[in-house]
Structures are given as structure tokens and as C-alpha cells.
């Protein structure tokens, strides 16, 4: 199965040479170099993930100039805070995209004065990936594959995910927007993520076999 490449047009020569080793291993080495103050390594990280980051930012804020500001600020946050990044908790890619998404939501929420703006980077750093195999598999999937999985969700669940993840609404606000009880709105988010997880695992034979074995062990 061919690996899913990041946007090739943004890869530097150094990053392109990484195809011989695993993406995860290459990223770990980049993180180590950035932690040692290597600015070129931050540039290589940018070359690998700027297109993904800008895609997420645009999806949230829909304004190209604001989106580019968010991407700039997110990479700069990675540069500043890399000393606190623990590679055992998750990949630098997922950390970066979480910062991008959260900063985009912060911008949206700043326009809603009644809502308390969260501490995005702190929450992102506290992430603990107890499912790193799934996380690694997701990073290999194309955006089209992931969108296809989302399209399978029932409309009300997909809408709830859109309102929460890409528009930054709380489940209480989603309940108000969609005219359902808070428990229903929360339940739709829960069902949507559970369904999405099942779809992603089912799409990958390796993950499906490991998930089967894991559930057999749980008994």
C-alpha cells in the first residue's frame, strides 16, 4: 500500500530524503533538533506540514489572511514550547494541528464575548494518546479518505461534529442552535466520534485485526 505523502510541493530536499525511513522516526528526529535550537529543523517541519495546517486553519476561519496568521503563530508556538513536548504522548503533527485548530477557534470565540476563551496550547500539551496505532494510521490517510468517513455519519451527527470541531461551539450551544436537549447534543457528539473511530478501524485491515485481538483480551 503506498504511503500517503504530505503535500509534495512543500517538501524540502531534506524532507524528501525521508521516504526511506518511517515518517514517525523522521519527525522524532526533527523534534530533537528543534529542541536543541535548530531553526532549520523548524523550517523542515514547516515544509512537511504547512499545507495541512493552512487547510485546517482555513476550514475554521475561512479567511486566508487570518488563516496564514494562525499557521505562523502555531509554528512559532511549536518553536517556543517544544521543550515541553513529550513524544510519547503523541506526534508533533497532531500537536501542531491541534494548536492550529484551537487558535482558529480562539479567533472565532473572541467574536463571541459571552464565551470564555480556553487555553488552547495547555490543553493540547496535556493530550495523552492511548491509541497511538490508530493515530499513526490516521496520519497515513488522505484528507479525501477521512472526509469520506465523515460523510458516512448521519446528518445530525456530522452537523454536531462540524459545529463543535470546526466552529468551536460547546455542546450546550449546539443544543441551542439545533433545537435539541443538551443531552441529545452531547449524545450526538459521542455517537459521531464512536462511529468515526469504528469506520477508521474497519478501513484498515491491520487496525481491525488488532482491535479484534484487543477486545478478545478485554473479555
Amino acid at each position: 500500500m503506498p504511503t500517503t505523502e504530505p503535500n509534495v510541493s512543500t517538501l524540502s530536499d531534506g524532507a524528501a530524503e525521508s521516504t526511506a525511513e518511517s515518517t514517525a522516526e523522521f519527525d522524532r528526529r526533527l523534534v530533537s533538533r528543534i529542541q536543541m535550537g535548530d531553526g532549520d529543523a523548524l523550517g523542515e517541519l514547516y515544509d512537511r506540514y504547512a499545507a495541512l495546517a493552512l487547510g485546517v486553519a482555513l476550514r475554521v476561519v475561512h479567511d486566508p489572511d487570518v488563516a496564514e496568521d494562525i499557521v505562523h503563530d502555531a509554528f512559532l508556538a511549536v518553536w517556543r514550547k517544544i521543550g515541553g513536548f513529550d513524544a510519547t504522548r503523541g506526534s508533533v503533527r497532531s500537536w501542531l494541528l491541534a494548536i492550529v485548530r484551537n487558535r482558529g477557534i480562539d479567533r472565532l470565540r473572541a467574536q463571541r464575548p459571552t464565551i470564555e476563551v480556553g487555553e488552547a496550547d495547555e490543553q493540547a500539551l496535556l493530550r495523552t494518546d492511548a491509541d497511538p496505532t490508530l493515530a499513526a494510521a490516521i496520519e497515513q490517510m488522505s484528507s479525501a479518505q477521512l472526509r469520506a468517513a465523515l460523510d458516512v455519519l448521519p446528518d445530525e451527527q456530522r452537523q454536531a461534529i462540524e459545529l463543535a470541531y470546526f466552529q468551536g461551539h460547546t455542546y450546550r450551544q449546539i443544543a441551542e442552535i439545533t433545537g435539541v436537549p443538551q443531552g441529545t447534543a452531547n449524545g450526538r457528539l459521542r455517537l459521531a466520534l464512536q462511529k468515526l473511530r469504528s469506520l477508521l478501524i474497519a478501513a484498515d485491515p491491520w487496525l481491525a485485526s488488532r482491535d479484534e485481538a484487543g477486545r478478545a483480551t478485554d473479555g
Partner: protein
């Protein structure tokens, strides 16, 4: 906000993963997950699923000026003080299927029996070259305090022969793969992440003697899959799975 029950935390896990809680609820969930002894497996699993939402956004190539602006900012921005945050009590539960099961590691007496059996088997088959390679591998294991880990599956039987920094898969009964396919070996760490450890393509009746590349000290499982060519991640269910003992 009042402390949350485990049941309530599980109900809010999805909303928390999506950042769809207000600040008070978010802090209450974080505090609970940090201090609670329950696994809250769903809370941890769903957080990885949220990564898929970021990945669903189509990539967009930025203008070149953005990179220049960023690198200029990096040049004048100091990094925060190095060092990791204080240990986070929030447990990352290891991927369940990697829990070590019975790991059969043979002592010296058993290794001697293995050597004898291997020699006899190969002599009977008249394959002198492979016998010598196998004898060298096993002899060096015996002389340097290495170890053998049994490989016993429907797809093949033999041993992982570990000797210091080198590891060799020695197995018999491995059928040639279908046309256009190969066998790929994997080392899987405690988090369930697989790393390719090499490929091999046996012929019918061959004894497999394949170098396992990579760092076994971090691996918890050895596996073999059938692939269409060397790949970065397994694409199929493994045909051989061998639990490995944790480092001493």
C-alpha cells in the same frame, strides 16, 4: 464546578475531546482524568479519533512569503526554558493486545537441544550451507549469552535468535508468498506502533534465515505480514505474532 463522577466523565468524553465543553467543565474533566484510577478508556481512545477531523481538511499550499515571515520570527524568538512538564499522572493505557503473554525464552540446556534438533533436521535435508549458517547463528548465541524466542504459528515455526545487537529469524515451514508478494517483518513497541524490520521471500521448502533489523530493546512484539512490496505500515493481518520479553 463540583467534582464529576466517572460516569459523567465518560458521558462528556467526546465533547471534551472535541473541545466542546465550557471552561469549567473542561477543567473538571481534566482534573478527574488526572486523579482517577479508572482507565476511562473511551476518553483516551476518542482523543486519537479527533485527529481525523483535522486530517479531513484539504491541504492548501501557503504563499512563499509565509515561510520567510516565520523563519524571521524564529530567528528573533527565544525558546521557552527546556525541560518537560512535571510527570502527568494521566495514564496512557498501553494498547491492550501488546500485554506480554507467555514469552518462551530458552535457557542453556534447552538451547543445546535446539542446536541438536536444528542440525539433525538440516542434515536430513542435506542442506549444508543453511546448516552452517544456522549453526553459526545459534553457536554465537550460546557463547555470548544471547537468547532464543520461540516462533510457533501455522505460517511457520522456529526461533528469533538474539545475540547482542543482532537478531535473526530462523524458521521452517514458511510457504512462499503469492506471486508479486513478500513477507515483511515488524517490531512493534509498547504503544502499538509498528516499524519495518526487513523483508524476505522464501522458496518452497527453504529454511528462513532473515536478519531482523531495528531496535529490539524497545519492541514488545515481533510480527510478519504479507505485502505487495516493502511498506511503511502493515496493510494486512499478521501471519506470525511473537510477544517479546521486556528489557531487563
Amino acid at each position: 464546578m463540583a467534582e464529576l463522577s466517572c460516569e459523567r466523565v465518560d458521558e462528556l468524553a467526546a465533547a471534551y475531546s472535541l473541545g466542546a465543553l465550557d471552561r469549567g467543565e473542561t477543567r473538571a474533566v481534566v482534573d478527574h482524568l488526572r486523579d482517577c484510577r479508572s482507565a476511562h478508556a473511551e476518553a483516551h481512545r476518542l482523543r486519537s479519533t479527533v485527529d481525523a477531523l483535522a486530517g479531513s481538511a484539504p491541504p492548501v499550499t501557503p504563499r512563499p512569503e509565509l515561510r520567510e515571515r516565520l523563519m524571521a520570527s524564529v530567528a528573533r524568538t527565544p525558546q521557552d526554558a527546556a525541560g518537560r512538564p512535571s510527570p502527568e499522572p494521566m495514564r496512557a493505557r498501553p494498547f491492550d493486545w501488546l500485554r506480554p503473554r507467555a514469552v518462551q525464552v530458552f535457557g542453556v540446556a534447552a538451547m543445546a537441544a535446539v542446536v541438536l534438533l536444528a542440525v539433525v533436521a538440516l542434515q536430513l535435508q542435506g542442506r549444508v550451507g543453511e546448516r552452517d549458517a544456522t549453526l553459526r547463528a545459534i553457536a554465537s548465541v550460546l557463547s555470548s549469552g544471547g537468547s532464543l524466542t520461540r516462533v510457533d504459528s501455522a505460517a511457520g515455526r522456529g526461533y528469533l535468535v538474539r545475540n547482542g545487537a543482532t537478531t535473526t529469524l530462523v524458521a521452517s515451514g514458511v510457504q512462499p508468498p503469492a506471486a508479486g508478494k513478500i513477507y515483511e517483518m515488524w517490531l512493534i513497541d509498547a504503544s502499538g506502533v509498528p516499524t519495518s524490520a526487513g523483508v524476505f521471500t522464501p522458496r518452497a521448502g527453504d529454511l528462513v534465515v532473515a536478519d531482523v533489523s531495528g531496535n529490539l530493546s524497545r519492541a514488545r512484539t515481533f510480527a510478519v505480514t504479507v505485502e505487495r512490496g516493502r511498506v511503511e505500515r502493515p496493510t494486512s493481518e499478521p501471519i506470525i505474532v511473537v510477544p517479546l520479553s521486556a528489557p531487563q
